[in-house]
Amino acid sequence: SAVISQKPSRDICQRGTSLTIQCQVDSQVTMMFWYRQQPGQSLTLIATANQGSEATYESGFVIDKFPISRPNLTFSTLTVSNMSPEDSSIYLCSVRAGGSYEQYFGPGTRLTVT
């Protein structure tokens, strides 16, 4: 299994500002994903981070609001832009290695927007 770290683990931010969340994996992985989990809810896929190209966003999520970078096979960032209280959630990074059907998750970043 892959070991995934996320920074920061939590943050409290003011409305209108942006926060960048980092995801680091201890091995090269083919696929990286970003999920949002609102309090007490299930996980919703925001986008698939593609190495060397633009991320693939799910319905309801747009690049201007959630820009994603993936400069290499072990690292990705998710930025939550122009935040509002509705963005208060846990954001999770997830990875899947090529040829594997198992998907692993980072510890999550708890974001609170005031």
């Binding site: 989990q37 299930s42 896929l45 059907y101 198992e102 998907q103 510890p107 999550g108």
Partner: protein, 114 residues
């Protein structure tokens, strides 16, 4: 679109007893994977068990086993000899071999009583 349904928002079990969590899914595809994830209060998503749809034999991992009924599109999780550390939110998830996206159910909160 594929959907995953967990009809039990909350379950309780006495320590050392057995509990079964239900999951049903809807798909028109024949090739897919099913998973159970555990999310304790620490919020770390932990892969508990997985099942390939082409396998008739039910997966087992120590105290965790599944009852996979492909025709009925049912995938329940049985936890034997429940322990206090099993208390968590449990998510059932589906992934198509072709499409690659993990689809989650709403989750079931499992409480373990001592």
């Amino acid at each position: 679109a594929q959907t995953v349904t967990q009809s039990q928002p909350e379950m309780s079990v006495q320590e050392a007893e057995t509990v079964t969590l239900s999951c049903t899914y809807d798909t028109s595809e024949s090739d897919y994977y099913l998973f159970w994830y555990k999310q304790p209060p620490s919020r770390q998503m932990i892969l508990v068990i997985r099942q390939e749809a082409y396998k008739q034999q039910n997966a087992t991992e120590n105290r965790f086993s599944v009852n996979f009924q492909k025709a009925a599109k049912s995938f329940s999780l049985k936890i034997s000899d429940s322990q206090l550390g099993d208390a968590a939110m449990y998510f059932c998830a589906y992934r198509s071999v072709m499409r690659g996206k993990l689809v989650f159910g709403a989750g079931t909160i499992l409480r373990v009583k001592s």
